[in-house]
Symmetry: C3
């Protein structure tokens, strides 16, 4: 089940990457790269940080293919995507939550401590978008917009909490997923944001 | 032979990095760093992704020295480089093709599957320039300009195709090199570009 | 002793990261991320490049906590920090020197050659700030400002030179630390800079 959601999620992330590339007038090769980085960059950074080799996607080239095809298809259907933006935001939210749970699972499997497991979930959830924004030369939106990374944090903590209470894995995954998805959708609908820090004093 | 071309290539890449640093008014330390990252960053990212330790340049500090010296010399000869720009573009094109072939070779030696071998070649070929542009705070030019990454892709596919046909390695390398170099030089001369994707609709 | 200075240093770096995040109007999550990356990013890049797993901070989650708390506290005390800027620059300078010495020590322990040991010290000293600036979408200040990376280089070379002369480790560390700190503070006070390279000719 989580694998299926994962596949939907990397396709959604690949499409979001393609749109970001289009905002920078990239060529189709740039579109493919940004789609790849957005969808699979979070898992790559996680695997590097946790010292988990071989890196996930190198063992699943079919995922790379899927993501690149999704990115290139986006170029042809982009003018229709605005109408589908609600579906798209839903898929993206599912991706965020699925990535976070998978990131926790990977770090647990390697025997890391609880704080590192949480960071692994968050890195998997948000680093793809951070790399996308760095390559598109803008400040990462996850550091500025409505609740996104915080959803990842809540999902990871809830999952680990229920796990410590020895809740059945399938139930735990389903519950964490539902809570995370609800929280993200409410955040978008109601415009929930974290407080912002503005500091403009120059020291030089 | 490929080693010799590789050495010429990292010097050319180091010089291109130095010029990019100069466009951002960096100090000589920044010039050295950007020269290093441009020339050796692609191989570093490749080694990290493939889990190949120790990283290549840590076993060849003389390459690091060469690249940094090339970068610093560029500062003194920069005003003459415009006249030599054709030579320079030739060296850069040779570098792109040589890096791609070396990247394929490394991944083949580690037993990765064909799609990963191709990605290894492309990462080696273009990531140095991507890192250079990220550190210089601009959208990577390889995602926007005339055929560059596509040359890397063609070279990698041709090399693997001829290898599957059991063509002699030296002949295969020479042929792939010649085709890649010709393609890149024609792309510069004739302004070949991939189609561009422009998407300006904001969703928020 | 170096451990104590290291702890002070990562707190100072975390605070500097938080201020940079504030200049980009990030939310408190962004502040936490940039604080983390600024303080622990240099060591992370070093461990990746040297192939040293597990990465340092994954074994010391308490450092991660400290850095994030320091970053978030900065949000509440930021308006008073300008008055404390001299203390702050002192802590930052101590961090630069301590990071450089620790980076050398780590690479020596892994048996790398002298040039790689020096680069390890410099990577540890400056990469945190480089990552901070990349995520804040600006050209890294260490490539443009008064002597900073050069201090790291001098500290690493001095430390390795005294080590080759078989100077007692504690004395060597103390001496290298004092020279580096003095050099950095003089550079700030007297505005020492490296020569800058400006190159504005476009080739296309």
């Amino acid at each position: 089940m989580l694998t299926f959601i994962y596949l939907v999620a990397i396709v959604a992330e690949g499409m979001s990457g393609a749109l970001a590339a289009g905002r920078r007038n990239m060529d189709v090769f740039g579109v493919a790269v940004i789609a790849f980085v957005t969808a699979l960059g979070g898992g790559t950074v996680r695997d590097l940080i946790l010292g988990r080799f071989p890196i996930g996607w190198t063992q699943h080239p079919e995922y790379v293919g899927m993501v690149i095809v999704a990115g290139l298809l986006t170029v042809t259907v982009a003018q229709h995507m605005f109408r589908l933006r609600r579906l798209f935001l839903l898929l993206d939210a599912m991706g965020l939550v699925a990535f976070s749970l998978i990131g926790c699972d990977v770090a647990l499997g390697l025997g890391y401590s609880v704080p590192v497991v949480i960071m692994s979930g968050m890195i998997t959830g948000i680093c793809g978008g951070v790399l996308r924004d760095v390559l598109c030369n803008q400040v990462p939106v996850v550091f500025q917009r409505e609740l996104y990374a915080m959803v990842s944090l809540v999902v990871c903590c809830l999952f680990l909490g229920l796990r410590a209470l020895e809740v059945n894995l399938a139930l735990n995954t389903g519950l964490s997923f539902a809570v995370g998805l609800t929280m993200r959708l409410l955040a978008i609908r109601l415009g929930w944001k974290l407080p912002t820090f503005s500091y403009q004093q120059r020291w030089d």
